[in-house]
Symmetry: C2
């Protein structure tokens, strides 16, 4: 693919750095800013592909680490690749596995060659190199592959953050070198923990390697929000305007809106699906936790201003009953609503960019969704 055609900016906001773009991928065009529902193990939890199509999802995220361990990229490749395996014919982005090795495995040992870890399924010892991650993602056949990175926790010393950022850069270079699939984009991931100088240098050197797009990695791991947004701002100031920018693992509706205003184009987050499964809904009047007793005989819909299937048909009292009764229909109906909310949020953000009043919407969302410990 010629780079010029991959990403086109079709509108920008006068009062912020926000932009609307069209991202051309092998399985279709994605309009940014975009939210990618998470299909870690090859399915968005509680949802089928028909559901995702009905909700209007344009691209989903799957995990190379999980699919490598089970059922394996070899089996998926034999069955025609991940799109064919899942029955999903729209774009897929695969995460490289760096974050999952960091967050899920035990006995992790990292050196410049790669990562030794134990599978979180069966404890077997594994070794994953940047080259393996690309080989896996090429076998899966996702539309966008991510470079393999060394993710550090928060808090993290300057020295460790520096070492990990340099290693991630070295690995990104090796990923770029081995990546061959012409129908798959490759994004580089910038690191540097919360240290502005590290992140600045790391991002600049990553840009020099010339990827199809850039991710801001290693954030949303527990650092203060104010630090995160400072670093996002710093990053989008230096990332090339003409390439897509992806803020990994972020966030609440307010976080996403703020990052969009700073010029971020792509997002993924477990919040709508995870909180949906545990009884919390994102609504036009803020978060609603259905487990609260006050909803026991509340005959009103989950969100009075929502036209999703769940809100059109069921009351808070009924949804609460489903959760109290351990019925999976509850998590399903709330996952449906929350994904609908997030996908409509992205529409609203795009509309606000076009109208030129994004900053009003950002303020509104920050009041509606203040930071909370369960995000």
């Amino acid at each position: 693919m010629a780079d010029l055609k991959i990403f086109q900016i079709i509108a920008t906001d006068k009062n912020s750095r926000a932009r609307i773009g069209k991202l051309q991928l092998a399985h279709g065009t994605v309009t940014t800013p975009v939210f990618m529902p998470i299909a870690t193990q090859g399915t968005v939890k509680m949802m089928s592909c028909d559901d995702l199509e009905n909700l209007g999802a344009e691209i989903i995220l799957a995990n190379a680490y999980h699919l490598h361990l089970r059922p394996s990229e070899h089996l998926i490749e034999r069955l025609g690749g991940l799109h064919s395996f899942m029955g999903w014919q729209k774009p897929i982005l695969t995460d490289s596995g760096g974050f999952q090795v960091f967050s899920l495995s035990t006995l992790r040992e990292v050196n410049d060659e790669g990562v030794k870890f134990r599978s979180h399924h069966d404890g077997t010892e594994r070794f994953l190199k940047p080259e393996d991650s690309i080989r896996i993602q090429e076998a899966l056949g996702s539309d966008i592959a991510m470079s393999f990175d060394d993710v550090v926790p928060y808090p993290c010393t300057y020295e460790r953050a520096k070492l990990a950022a340099e290693r991630s850069l070295l690995w990104a270079e090796r990923c770029k070198k081995i990546h061959k699939r012409k129908d798959q984009l490759l994004f580089g991931i910038a690191h540097g923990s919360i240290y502005a100088d590290l992140r600045l240098e790391n991002t600049l050197r990553l840009i020099n390697l010339d990827f199809h797009g850039y991710a801001i990695g290693g954030l949303s791991v527990g650092e203060p929000k104010v630090a995160m947004f400072e670093l996002v701002k710093l990053s989008t100031e230096i990332l090339p305007r003409e390439k897509p920018r992806y803020l990994m693992g972020v966030g609440t509706p307010a976080d996403i809106a703020r990052a969009v205003a700073l010029g971020v184009d792509m997002f993924d987050c477990v919040l709508p699906t995870r909180l949906g499964r545990t009884g919390t809904a994102f609504t036009s009047i803020g978060k609603v936790n259905l487990r609260h007793a006050k909803y026991a005989d509340d005959s009103s819909p989950l969100d009075p201003n929502c036209n999703c299937l769940t809100c059109q048909r069921y009351s808070r009292a009924y949804l609460r009953h489903l959760f109290k009764s351990g019925e999976a229909t509850g998590p399903r109906l709330l996952t449906w609503h929350n994904l609908h909310f997030y996908l409509r949020l992205m529409e609203q953000l795009r509309d606000a960019i076009e109208r030129g009043d994004l900053t009003d919407l950002v303020s509104e969302l920050m009041l509606l969704f203040p930071d909370s410990p369960d995000d």
Copy 2:
């Protein structure tokens, strides 16, 4: 409702006692023979009301016992009744609670007055009389209420079976006496365990009480199939031709077909939903257990002759992966397929009755679904 209009037989089979009927209920007309998906706690497990409508379910079954304990019939009544609470506007049959007190509660003590038991949720001591069951079912507002019965296990001594059958008859009479709702039918449940003389006498005396319809109860609790079908045959021979007949808790596709041939009109069973949740599908080539390793890279659909959403889009390999990965999408897609299979089975049985070749279909289904220990 005038009894003449409630149930109309519109076709009969020349070679068996099977018939096609129209059952007029407050929330719509049901074509029999009919299968009722089970919505024990006010939802068919893994399914929403939209799903059930899309699958073509005409009537579902909810449980007075479960809904009494949680969230309580009072709350449901305040919210407009069970149809409104669930968001389901088609017919609902409620089971009376007799079977659930028998199968779920502990410390059950039965006397002619009613049943003392402990809630299976919190161990609190409760007492349920026939009058309570009718009051609960009237509050729920189902289209069909069932009489409260004393269910005995298999095997069961003649004396105990006789006592329970007489008590169930006494209770049915008390249910009939107290039942007031004009928009709700009341069915009596016949008992007698596997003893033909008890069942004959009990059924005849129940018929004398004149219910809107009759259920054959206390079967499918572990007795040999040959005994069950003998008793079904005996029952349908004496039950009034012009009233609907309901065989409770039955069964496999072959069981249902055999009972239809004997003149049964209504069925409910946990098999399609329960087996669906654990990875077993009913298909046109017999049962398929997706947990078997041989399906790991089977790219064919679950059922090559099925046009349901699951079979049109997903492979056995993918569905197996979902089950192996503990993803609820797997149970959901298999529940969808199994309910589709059961609802299409009823269509096929009705078509066969109209064509006059039901006995061929029964033989075919008996070969395809031989009795197995997990039914």
